[in-house]
Amino acid sequence: MTDAENASTALDQLDARGRQAAASLRSAVDDLMADAPPIPLDSVVVDLRDAPRRRRRGWLVAAAVLLVAGLATAVLLRQTHDEEGTIADDNPTYLVARSVPNGWDLVEVRVLRAEDFPPVMDVTTSVYGDTGRDDPWSGPLLTVYESEGVLVDQAGAGGEPIEVAGHPGTIDESSGTVDLRMVTEDSTVMIAAGDGMDRAAVIAAAEGLAGGDLAGAVPQGMELLARGPGSAAVPFGSFALDGLSMLYGGSSSDEGQLGVLQRAGDADDAELLRASPLTEVTEVHGQPAYSVDGTLQWYEPSIGVVVTVLSVGGVVDDAQLLAFADGMEPGRPGEVDEIVKAHSASGPFGRLEPGEVVVVEGEPGADGEPDWQLVASDDGDEGFGLTFADGGGSTGVGVSGDEGWGSLSIDVANHSEAIEGGRVGVFGAVAPEAVEVVIEAPGREPIRFEVHQVEGIEGWDAPVFAGLVPVDLGQADVAVRAADGTEIERMSWSPDEGSSQGSTTATVVDGGSVSSDEAVEVDGMSSDSAEASGNSGG
């Protein structure tokens, strides 16, 4: 058999596998969708339509801890900033480490402000337990998370559909606990996670919760053990909060790190960590401390702060973590302020990582800081990236790859509707000869963007652009022009589409450049079988 025949055989085998895999995937997704609760499309879509477009995730009780911790961590890193870089005098004092394992240093400090977190992070946690026990936390627990204004895709839930007091919800017992969640008319999400409780009791509690009388609906003998911010209930979870985060580490994050999160609170808040069934009780500074999965949390009464210390990467073991915590002391007057000044992430949108450069920024606002920033990055094996950052977060995309530098790419910043004036950030890369990008929408003045060269990243040959457009721009044309006014490219685009790639680029085939029209024929993809012709915009 010739090589060409071998190749043909291989591709035939591949296609057979591809069709089989496609059939499996379609079947599996159909099953999942059939099992998922019916989406109240009208209400969900209507709710979402006018809401700020932030990342929305399914809300899963079984994974609530990890999910929320993950979101919160991303927020910690990407969405908070300290405009002044200082702590006001009336803020609480925080603990400072006097001895750090492995000779590590403080590598980053962030002042956290609850207002910087999206509403999804504003969660109240209540834990009910059997107070008749010597240790109520060791018995059955009912943990309730309540959050205002959370928009939920019901399809993201596991478990079976259930209706609680007229509210759609799901109930899932697959994780060993009884996890029930529901959404009320005002999009409040309420979760009743029963550990050691039976299904009927959790449903009854949820009905009470929906009716505004949770306390009256919990099983007899169970009483409120603690109620506090969600930030205290998950390991380093930190929902919306005012506080301070500090990160200790070495020259590389690969060596592991220590995170410290501090915020005002009380002993009950700290104890909320016991909602996690694996939590063990220990002691720091003579106070009860709670340890779970590399995380240690306690209440520091001398300064009225709940402290969470987290071992990142598993390099610091529990004993070292405890020693580190015991070695922390309240900062001396002015010390924390100085630390914040010295270690705060630079710039309004966080510290630049190696390989990142700021290409262009928005106009300075009243505070003297730009309202957005475009960062180009060399992402190593992942190619090149562009990140549009603003007060609501950051949106990162790849701008190269097989498409090469020849075509327009345009993306919408997912978070930037927070920018005053109902505008949304757009950004992208254009062909090397481009000097201007113009967005033309019916009934509006053309919106012109200068292009900017990316300096300091080897191999980056494409100019980039960024700016703001009205969020209600609608369908528009994006034109790219060269210095002599020649139109290099034009495509239809809408902010609602998110990102788009231009269509006129040359395509690289097997190492050589050919025009799109010269590209190879591929079996099974008859180009004359168009069904979508005339399907403008889709």
Partner: protein
Amino acid sequence: VDGVRATRETDGPDTRPAEFEEFARHERSALVAFAWSLTGSRGAAEEIAQEALVAAWRSWDAVGGYDKPGAWARRVVANRASSHRRSAGRESRAMERLGGAAGAGSGAADVALPDADDELWAAVRLLPDRQAQVVSLYYLEDRSVAETAAILDCAEGTVKAHLHKARLALARSLGLLGASAETATAATPATATETAEDDR
């Protein structure tokens, strides 16, 4: 199309929910499957599909008038999945810095597939964005070149080229393509694909 538009203009927005709801119910599974093929995460796939539906709703006056609004929604899915792939890499690195939550967001029981099928989709996700999108539409929805080009808003030749490269890469990564055959295929792509076409 004109009839739909006329009805909408006459009846106002009252007709939109019903039309849209039918569209969403019809397309939801396909959008989730397409998004999953590109992200490998049920949570992300459902979120992206939902975002595509929301985007369609927001532009329903225009999208609802298209011959194939599903194609428009697939383009949104492709674009957002591409953004997700990049963002996921960044988030993953960020989370690693503060620890332990790298798997966050994947809490839902994911799409369960036989190992061989899972392996193929995993290989698809290792392809560059456009290649992954093209080959996914090729296998998952049996889309023609023209349909795929319309969905992804690119030239048909671009689709052909990406599909060719994607299939070679998949065959290579799945161990179906030997080195010598690969060389022969790479040197004369048209020959190989013509042969494959003949075999069909």
